[in-house]
Amino acid sequence: MSRIVGIDLGTTNSLVAYVDEHGVPRVIPDAEGRGLLPSIVAYTRAGVLVGEAARRQLARQPGRTIYSVKRLMGRGYEDVRGELSQLPFPVVPAAEIVRIRIDDREITPPEVSAQILRALKQTAEAALGEKIEQAVVTVPAYFNDSQRQATKDAGRIAGLDVLRIVNEPTAASLAYGLQRRAEGLIAVYDLGGGTFDISILRVKDGVFEVLATNGNTHLGGDDFDQALVSWLLEDIRTAHGADLAGDPEARQELRLAAEAAKCRLSFEERTHLAIPFADFVYRRDLTRADVEARIAPFVEATLGPCRQALKDAGLSREQVDEVVLVGGSTRVPLVRRRVEELFGKTPHSQLNPDEVVALGAAVQAHILAGGITDMLLLDVTPLSLGIETLGGIVSILIARNTTIPTMAKEQFTTSVDGQTVVDLHVLQGERELARDNRSLARFELRGIEPMSAGMPKIEVTFLIDANGILQVHAKELRTGKEASIEVRPTYGLTEAEVERMVDESFEHAEADVAARLLIEARTEADNVINHVERALTQGSQLAEPGELERIRDAVATLRRARGGDDRELIHERTTAVNKATERLAEAMMDAALKGALASKRADRILESS
């Protein structure tokens, strides 16, 4: 069997890992030695950028740079309507699934995720020196069927056969299990960039049996950042009289600064913000308490699911032997404190919370490849599966927290003489009414032989596989014939759409790494050119004699290089422009700072008068 890699496709960062020849799971670093690939994709005019290069476009090309796409996976336009104002990129209205508009193209979340997966695939291929075509990919445990299917689709579009979708908290438990071989009842608290999961497992005799899981696929560090941004926007309005809420570039600058400050405040009690905007520099001190006050409601929101999971597992908190923390957001001291209070024991994160999920995915990949035979993960389906019955009531076929794979059979018949088609509406969720649950798909059973009403007996099998994904089969019991089923996913791509995207991705795929690097170089050149041109209109009065000419020359030379295919030359010329503008840039920054100070002094004079 060829090699299978493990991939953590995260909201903020993604990683690829494998199990080495000594049986040790390892994260695969890219050419620059980085293990974390920012889950950011920029659709620039020059081409597609992924990761660190795309991250640099966040504040420069906010309308073309897609981040946190995981939060859009398997979701409908209606689902994300409420947060559209916070997204800097345009989402196409009225489509069933979310589509992002870039120029004249509409891009779906699985296609964006596929770009990230493809970059990871290339990283693994470069490091391991072999072709990689199979992967285990992790998802939040609380992901529903559509979100899981969207993740699988993303793999296909990227040219990866996703052999298994594994839940993130359980993947983490596998990584810990391989390392420590401890037994007992374990709670895994996983708070990432965009999603929250709690899973409770019994680990015994090499079997990792999930007893219950719960969570929220729309709760994470992103929400912390967003809350901080809203608060800072208000503060800027008060301090500078400027409303930046409608300025996507400023918002992204602010978001990046807030995120960085949040991370610093996990280790320090206070920090300083200094963010240069076009007209002023925003400065303020920030304490850990400031941040905690803003994020506390989100941390609270994780506790309810924890209690529910304990209850569903039939356990009291005293029975839990160990609490494990996973995900970057568990570095936040407030999170640790609240988890400790809830479970009554100190949680730990001995393995790097950023890496542990990817390492676990690699372990699961190794199990599938036959490399590990004494470990087995038994996971559950996070949400109840049901069908809509008369009056819009849901009849549950498979209850949540049922071990997967699992199966339920149900018989259907016709209600009208001669009826040849029966419709089924399948949903996921815990509510009594169909309209309060997540619609998964409508199934059409066709080709039923015309008989009087109630005569046909169609047995439908609902099977949830080890990925947590639903498969439906139907059989007419009188004839024993397989009935044909047409599936219309409510929030997903049809088979034909995925096929088309797979084809397109081959056509559009960057030939190799070199092509990608050329795009990066060109984009960087464009950025520098734009930046310099803007600076020249604002700060030319600060220039020394001859300086403007030198800068314009350097820019013109860069422009010519950018038109060509020589990446090294573009780099060289870009550096030259940066050098030529160094002095002027500093002079402009000084002037801006003096201006900011002067206005502060003016404030004080006004206050004292």
Binding site: A399, T402, P405, A466
Partner: protein, 198 residues
């Protein structure tokens, strides 16, 4: 219908050693789980998927003593069952009268605002019914050994089966009303997903 007892090599008896059942479940999972059959062809993979699903369903039905009785009845009657939300259970005859009072209190609570006294009333009712439900479960478990002995002796077990059914119906009804009381009190008891562990 599939005999879940047979999946675990057990007779159709209600006394089951939970720890031994779990160990057997892990053993069977190691044999049938799709993780260990990745190299097999498509047809063999589909077969292992079905077997693995059967093992999981069997364990779920047998690990919980009450679910076990429910499953046994379905099996003995040869009807296909499925877990989860059945049609809303009707009040068993012997419970009807004492439930009238509760239903009235519920209707009042739904009609208007809950004052403190009404709240306490509903809470007291809920506590009492929880006790009743526990008593039904104890009664069921109390006669499980009787069933097992009848299996060994090969006697007529139908009367006992009927009795189990009545007690299960009473328990299901009690559970629904306890849920209604919790709803009226504005507490989400999340009770409509059945087969939780006890």
């Amino acid at each position: 219908m599939d005999d879940y007892f047979a999946v675990f090599g057990l007779p159709r008896k209600l006394t089951v050693d939970g720890e031994a059942l779990r160990r057997r479940f892990y053993e069977l999972s190691r044999v049938h789980h799709p993780d260990f059959h990745q190299a097999a062809d498509e047809e063999a993979q589909a077969a292992t998927l079905a077997r693995s699903a059967l093992v999981n369903r069997a364990y779920r039905a047998l690990r919980d003593p009450i679910a076990r009785v429910e499953y046994l009845i379905a099996l003995e009657e040869g009807r296909d069952t499925r877990e989860g939300a059945e049609a809303r259970p009707k009040a068993p005859r012997d419970l009807l009268e004492e439930m009238l009072e509760v239903q009235e209190a519920l209707e009042e609570a739904r009609a208007g605002d809950l004052d403190e006294a009404a709240r306490e009333g509903l809470q007291a009712q809920r506590e009492r019914l929880a006790g009743r439900k526990q008593a039904e479960e104890d009664a069921l478990m109390g006669r499980a050994a009787e069933w097992d002995a009848a299996v060994d002796a090969g006697g007529d077990r139908r009367p006992l089966l009927t009795w189990f059914k009545e007690r299960l119906a009473a328990r299901a009804y009690l559970r629904t009303v306890i849920g209604d009381l919790s709803d009226a009190l504005g507490e989400d008891q999340d009770q409509h997903v059945s087969h939780r562990r006890h």
